[in-house]
């Protein structure tokens, strides 16, 4: 039996593309472990000749990363909590009721999804200023970023809810549940995977949020790690292994979460998380 080489070719192509995309990640770890002179060596070394992990604790201390990461964590958690709490209810309603108003609502939500953060930031900034929210900069960022994350969350969680057959809810109602009971005991457990996956994606995105945090938070003590990292980069910056070490510390937890949960995330995104 002769097999066409096409699938293999595509596989090879996919591997090459993946390698291109993953290379910067590798280069980040490699560079962080190199010495100053080795970074600029030509030809470059692909494996550090003399790996020096001491740069990690040093950068952590010098750039007060504990505080930055804490702020990132606060913002990420806040955005995720707000998104899941508000978005889940919205998504359920939009999945269960059909009317012209619902269609209009969905359209508006998709529109919100289209607007980029860089366009939204100016009106948001002015609005927050009027409301006095700028005195609570992290809360302001949480609100702004959640506003950006919720549409995406609603659209995808709605799809998950639509995969939960209506008859199950009706069976629960006849069995003695109230409307709320049917939602919490039957629908939510069945949509759990989808909700979990989207909560994780929302968290990962909010953890790396940059534009809103950079614009709204002026006090360094409240800035997240993304903004802290950009403080490194100047026109004359040379501390490349410091920057790379910082980036590595910042990114590794997210990469770890993704690697651990990737099976679930992929399954949840493709299958609607149920059957």
């Amino acid at each position: 039996m002769t097999r066409l080489p096409v699938p293999r070719l595509f596989l090879a192509l996919a591997m090459v593309l993946a390698a291109i995309y993953l290379f910067p990640l590798y280069w980040m770890y490699a560079t962080s472990l190199k010495g100053q002179s080795e970074i600029f060596a030509n030809p470059p070394t692909f494996w550090p000749r003399d790996p020096d992990p001491s740069i990690y604790p040093e950068t952590w201390e010098r750039r007060s990363m504990g505080r930055f990461l804490w702020n990132s964590l606060v913002i990420g958690t806040g955005v995720t909590a707000l998104t899941v709490l508000l978005g889940t209810g919205c998504a359920y309603v939009l999945a269960r009721y059909r009317s012209a108003w619902v269609d209009l609502g969905l359209f508006a939500i998709l529109m919100l999804q289209v607007l980029p953060a860089s366009v939204m930031i100016t009106p948001l900034y002015v609005g927050f200023n009027q409301l006095g929210l700028l005195s609570y900069p992290r809360t302001a960022v949480i609100l702004a970023a959640a506003g950006k994350a919720i549409p995406f969350y609603i659209v995808l969680v709605r799809a998950t809810f639509m995969n939960v057959p209506r008859e199950l809810e009706e069976a629960a109602l006849v069995d003695g549940n109230s409307r709320w009971g049917a939602f919490f005991f039957i629908v939510l457990p069945l949509a759990r995977n989808g909700i979990l996956v989207l909560a994780i994606l929302t968290f990962m995105q909010a953890f790396g949020e940059y534009i809103y945090a950079k614009s709204i938070i002026t006090t360094q003590a409240y800035q997240p790690a993304s903004v802290g990292l950009s403080g490194f980069l100047g026109p004359n910056s040379t501390d490349w292994n410091g920057i790379m070490a910082y980036a590595a510390i910042y990114v590794t937890p997210i990469v770890a979460i993704f690697v651990i949960l990737q099976r679930r995330i992929v399954a949840g995104l493709t299958s609607g998380a149920l059957k």
Binding site: E167, L168, E170, A172, D175, G176
Partner: protein
């Protein structure tokens, strides 16, 4: 008999759509009632209104004497078996069976004991720990039944519960459901689009069309005395043959409007010259070589061995069911006769039985 479900002048509107039109129906305690009709006739809407999953626009609906309009499903004390079974996929069979008991104040041991009893009745004892996805269609059907009987409801509501099963299993489950109904002395309302199911299972059949009850009564009464052309065509399989005809000069026979204009004697006298629709059941048309009333050419002959279905070449075509293997082949002429009392007559415009 004491009425268990009383439906009086019930109307249901979905916006401009009139789904149920002045429905009046009384279901006695312990009866097995089938709601039957083509899709979109309102039978499911009526069932769901009884369950409380749909609200009625006007009229009265009483279960065991208590007015139910505005009462949520959980307070109606009914159980429903859905077409898709609607088993909770995240719970095992035990969880599915006992789910409703947690709202009725049962503790864990009581619920377990009850589940064991029910599992015994429906033959699921071995499967209590399994999840719905690990069960076959018939087993899922049984769990759905078990979930309904465990809470000893005032009425069982079935929404086309057998349509997802294969033919053999369907016939088997039909008997099982009916046997269960008799054993429990329950009141059942059964929605189906399959008239055979309705006829074989129910004590009382309600034929619906376009939101209206066309006729209700005992199964064979509907078969023998259909109130109109729709019921006549719906009940019985294969369906009744309808032919245009004119009442002859003597008033005691009808001339059929097919090739050859054959004349059939009637069991009663009608006004001569009156136009009628004649209904002839395929199983009432007999082959009679001695004194045939009508001679029709055959186009298709299909035999199952026990029964033979012949379709004629006429316009409109006739269907004839014959016991055993057919003696005639396609292209030959069938000599047919029918007893005068087996001929149904309908008004050609209104469709009402004469």
């Amino acid at each position: 008999m004491t009425p268990q479900i009383e439906i009086a002048s019930v109307d249901k509107h979905y916006g401009a759509y009139h789904a149920l039109k002045d429905i009046n129906l009384t279901i006695p305690r312990g009866a097995f009632t089938a709601l039957v009709g083509p899709s979109g006739c309102g039978k499911s809407t009526l069932l769901r209104s009884i369950a409380g999953l749909e609200s009625i626009t006007s009229g009265n609906l009483r279960i065991a004497g208590t007015e139910m309009s505005g009462v949520p499903p959980r307070k109606r004390d009914v159980a429903m078996v859905f077409q898709s079974y609607a088993l909770y996929p995240h719970m095992n069979v035990l969880g599915n069976l006992t789910y409703s008991l947690r709202f009725k104040g049962f503790n864990k041991e009581q619920a377990r004991k009850k589940a064991d009893e029910v599992a015994q009745v429906i033959g699921l004892t071995e499967l209590l720990e399994r999840y719905p996805r690990e069960l076959s269609g018939g087993q899922r059907q049984r769990v759905a039944m078990g979930r309904a009987i465990i809470c000893e409801p005032k009425a069982f509501l079935f929404d086309e519960p057998l349509s997802n099963l294969d033919a053999a299993l369907r016939v088997h489950m039909r008997m099982e459901i009916r046997a269960l109904h008799d054993r429990l002395g329950a009141t059942s309302v059964y929605v189906t689009h399959d008239q055979v199911e309705a006829m074989t299972m129910a004590d009382h059949v309600v034929v619906m069309r376009a939101g209206v009850i066309e006729q209700q009564g005992a199964p064979l009464e509907l078969y023998d005395n259909p109130a109109n052309k729709f019921v006549a065509g719906f009940i019985g399989s294969p369906a009744m043959n309808f032919l245009d005809a004119t009442v002859a000069e003597d008033g005691r026979s009808a001339r059929l409007e097919i090739a050859g204009k054959p004349v059939l004697p009637l069991a009663r006298t009608l006004q001569p010259g009156r136009e009628v629709t004649v209904g002839l059941r395929p199983e009432h048309l007999r082959i009679d070589t001695a004194a045939p009333r009508l001679q029709v050419p055959v186009r298709v002959v299909e035999s199952t061995g026990s029964l033979t279905y012949s379709t004629t070449e006429t316009e409109p075509e006739l269907m004839i069911v014959e016991q055993g293997r057919g003696r005639y082949r396609a292209g030959e002429t069938l000599p047919l006769t029918i007893a005068p009392e087996d001929i149904h007559l309908f008004d050609p415009t209104s469709g009402t039985a004469l």
